[in-house]
């Protein structure tokens, strides 16, 4: 069975602080795919990144960076120099090979205060 755990329910930071959102996953499949989505107050889930299990390279996209570590089954997301517009709920999700189901973690609500 697949499972995604986001232990941080809520995080509050002040603008310009760096913040890391944790994601730990469980799967017995050797081929799987991890995702991060952002859900702003409007409700639409916005895709941020996909990472394949056989590619452990970290990725940076502007102020966003992701750290994928298979040894600890983690796929953490860091926002550098946070901004008020980053305030949203962030979800980590998992899909396994040969299966179209996407399983979400419980989400982390990030509030960035001015």
């Amino acid at each position: 069975a697949q499972k995604v755990t986001q232990a941080q329910t809520e995080i509050s930071v002040v603008e310009k602080e760096d913040v890391t959102l944790d994601c730990v996953y469980e799967t017995r499949d050797t081929t799987y795919y991890l995702f991060w989505y952002k859900q702003p107050p409007s409700g639409e889930l916005v895709f941020l990144i996909r990472r394949n299990s056989f590619d452990e390279q970290n990725e940076i996209s502007g102020r966003y960076s992701w750290n994928f570590q298979k040894s600890t089954s983690s796929f953490n997301f860091t926002i550098t120099a946070s901004q008020v517009v980053d305030s949203a709920v962030y979800f980590c999700a998992l899909k396994v090979n040969n299966n179209n189901d996407m399983r979400f973690g419980a989400g982390t609500r990030l509030t960035v205060k001015p």
Partner: protein, 115 residues
């Protein structure tokens, strides 16, 4: 332009009165999903279509049904809505295939209120 469109954005229905939520897509994706998201919770997968193949989650109540008449449209039917069915319903699409190596694209959701 929106690629996954859900109508209506807000739906109010009476307890026990059948209601249908609709979703359309312009991406020509072969997989369409329906998720239920209650307040402050993760989206919960109800079912998905891979082309015309319907895949129901084991814990999805029989009260929830779905139809996919063609690639572009998918409907969620709630036969007898209860107060516990009040939630945001999210439709998503993805390019399905042998691998799961594709992200899902979500609509803006339909917020269902049951009175």
């Amino acid at each position: 332009d929106a690629m996954v469109i859900q109508n209506p954005r807000y739906q109010v229905t009476q307890f026990g009165k059948p209601v249908t939520l609709s979703c359309s897509q312009t991406l020509n994706h072969n997989v369409m999903y329906w998720y239920q998201q209650k307040s402050s919770q993760a989206p919960k997968l109800l079912f998905h279509y891979y082309d015309k193949d319907f895949n129901n989650e084991a814990d999805t109540p029989d009260n929830f049904q779905s139809r996919r008449p063609n690639t572009s449209f998918c409907f969620l039917d709630i036969r007898s809505p209860g107060l516990g069915d009040a939630a945001m319903y999210l439709c998503a699409t993805s390019r399905g295939g042998i691998s799961g190596n594709t992200e899902a694209f979500f609509g803006q959701g339909t917020r269902l209120t049951v009175v």
